[in-house]
């Protein structure tokens, strides 16, 4: 199970890097979604996967009996998803603003802050 998820993480990272290097801001953002989902899955898999064993403590016991799912990575992933969502929303609005300002999303043409020396 972990192997399958690990391969999936690898595929997501590879696809994300490809998208992020494309030189277009929108593709970069799509890559960013992929890579942050890859990272979340990596945390999930790092916590070891168990099928059909919720981490519940039976009545009267002090700790779960037998092998149950690890709840901590799920809490971490949940936090990371929420944070990632917020950051992505900001990045998306920034990209929109950049498009309105510059009329392009090609990163090579965004040189307002660092104008080319030879362009004058």
């Amino acid at each position: 199970m972990e192997v399958v998820v690990s391969v999936l993480v690898g595929v997501l990272f590879a696809a994300a890097v490809y998208m992020m290097l494309a030189g277009n801001l929108l593709r970069f953002l799509l890559g960013l979604i992929l890579i942050s989902n890859g990272a979340n899955l990596a945390i999930f898999a790092a916590g070891r996967l168990t099928a059909g064993a919720p981490p519940l403590i039976p009545e009267g016991a002090d700790e779960p009996i037998g092998l149950v799912a690890n709840a901590l990575p799920q809490a971490l992933v949940l936090t990371a998803i929420v944070i990632g969502f917020g950051l992505f929303a900001f990045a998306l609005v920034l990209a929109l603003r950049a498009y309105w300002t510059f009329g392009t999303l090609e990163t090579d043409e965004m040189r307002a802050a660092e104008p080319r020396e030879d362009a004058k």
Partner: protein, 499 residues
């Protein structure tokens, strides 16, 4: 004891809430100043307690370590919190005059206080995932501050800053996940115990490199620094001063923390990489600065160059080198933030930061000229200013381990720093203004001068004080370095305070 650790965190966030509610009134800016004063007091108390009792730790929500979130302060954390509060107060006063009412109504003061809170949290946490969360708090508020006002250049700089910082965040998160998978813990002190026991040390080294890249990006080391000179010259001067002082230093702090506490197993490999990264960072930063013709762009490249010195101290990993790194960290925050504040006044008086379009400040604003010289010479390492001792300790440390080449680089970069500083001096202060105007302080509106000059003068005085009386600061750095090199106290306090 837990309140000593949590109050410095609570104050900025509470201030942010009040400042946000009052964002359309002039009282909002005074709330920000008041909050910064309270932060400074709280951090002073924290410092006093840590100095007296050694490392202190508190478990949030009474969840015992290593399961809950731990707040912990050793001397390095404490001094970083104090310096954050000092910089925060200086910039909050400066902002009284620098930030326009329009920027205020967009929530400048609230974002600023959240940023200070995020930075403080990153210094105080003893939990890796919590560190990630503080990084995010810091990032999202810095995003807001950077693009506040929607200038053309700001949007462009913002895109690059946001993009590269988000990538580094994802790498940090991935590293955290993998380290958790390997060790089953996220508590830094617990990691320090568990990581050496991991069977497959090769994997630990791989994760260490992942962290090195993630934090290296935040710290703007070679070759990961490109976002910094692309964005730091675009926002309001208050914003770039607080960014320049604090943000990259959080990356440096995280590197120092992780590579003295957790990843010390394969030092021949990891710290060797850090050493060459440090040299390349110093050189590329200073050469990049030499090629620039804008006040703030020069200063931005110098941040990169100076980061190299701190990483150098970490990489050499001798007691003296760590002393140098801690001393450098403290001195640099004050000096660098101050230089950006000076550039803001220069822009207000002369109308630009382009070196070719300004000048004449030496004649018309001699006080500002003197106040520029103090941090500028300190940055370059002139005795008797703070930068001299910082560089002296690091060069001495590299000579002690017979790293001649490294010592040579450190000295040569200092020399090139003087070149850039004299360039600014000659262009901004000495040469007459190209349009023939006299940029006198009286050009500022009434009451606008003192909030600009007071923080600059105070921080310059601090620089001179550290330079003239370095002994208590070095003694402090020595105690702090001893704690970093022998983290048994740190580990025992965190894991033992589970009671």
């Amino acid at each position: 004891m837990s309140w000593v650790l949590s109050i410095p965190l609570i104050i900025p966030f509470a201030t942010a809430v009040v400042a946000f509610l009052l964002r359309d009134r002039s009282s909002g800016r005074w709330v920000s100043v008041l909050g910064s004063v309270l932060s400074l007091l709280a951090s002073g108390v924290l410092m006093a307690v840590v100095w007296r009792d050694g490392v202190i730790a508190a478990q949030m929500g009474q969840w015992a370590a290593p399961f809950g979130i731990t707040l912990v302060a050793d001397l390095l954390s404490a001094v970083m919190v104090v310096i954050t509060a000092i910089t925060g107060l200086a910039v909050a006063v400066y902002a009284l005059s620098d930030i326009t009412e329009e920027q205020e109504s967009m929530g400048y003061h609230a974002l600023f206080q959240v940023l200070i809170g995020g930075v403080t949290g990153a210094f105080l946490t003893g939990d890796l995932f919590n560190l990630y969360v503080w990084f995010e708090v810091m990032l999202i508020s810095s995003f807001g501050l950077l693009v506040l006002g929607n200038g053309r250049e700001q949007i462009d700089g913002g895109v690059k800053y946001v993009a590269l910082n988000l990538v580094s965040t994802v790498l940090f998160l991935t590293g955290t996940g993998l380290l958790y998978g390997l060790t089953g813990t996220l508590n830094l002190a617990d990691l320090a115990v568990v990581v050496p026991q991991v069977e497959n040390q090769g994997l630990v080294t791989v994760i260490a490199i992942l962290f090195m890249i993630a934090f290296g990006m935040k710290a703007a080391v070679f070759p990961l620094f490109f976002w910094l000179p692309a964005s730091y010259h675009t926002p309001a001067f208050s914003v770039s001063a607080v960014f320049a002082g604090l943000l990259t230093k959080v990356g440096v702090y995280a590197l120092i923390r992780m590579f003295t506490l957790v990843f010390t197993g394969d030092r021949g490999f990891t710290h060797e990489i850090l050493l060459w990264v440090a040299c390349a960072t110093m050189v590329t930063g200073v050469l990049g600065a030499a090629a620039q013709n804008d006040f703030r762009k020069i200063l931005s490249f110098h941040i990169v160059s100076q980061i190299g010195y701190m990483i150098l101290g970490l990489a050499l990993f001798t007691p003296l080198a760590i002393v140098g790194a801690v001393f450098y960290l403290v001195h640099h925050i004050i000096v660098k933030a101050n230089l950006f504040l000076v550039s803001g006044v220069a822009q207000r008086l002369t109308g630009s930061t382009e070196l070719s379009r300004i000048g004449g400040l030496y004649k018309s604003a001699p006080l500002l000229a003197v106040l520029f010289l103090v941090p500028a010479f300190s940055l370059a390492g002139f005795p008797p200013l703070s930068g001299f001792w910082a560089k002296y300790i690091l060069v001495k440390a590299s000579l002690d381990v017979e790293a001649w080449f490294v010592a040579f680089i450190a000295l040569a970069v200092g020399l090139l720093t003087i070149f850039s500083m004299t360039k600014i001096w000659g262009e901004v202060f000495w040469k007459p203004h190209p349009e023939g105007i006299d940029p006198e302080m009286t050009r500022l509106p009434r009451g606008a001068a003192w909030p600009l000059m007071l923080p600059i003068a105070a921080m310059a005085a601090l620089t001179v004080a550290i330079g003239l009386f370095p002994e208590p600061f070095v003694a402090f750095a020595e105690r702090s370095a001893a704690q970093l090199l022998d983290p048994s106290d740190y580990i025992a306090t965190v894991l033992g305070s589970a009671r």
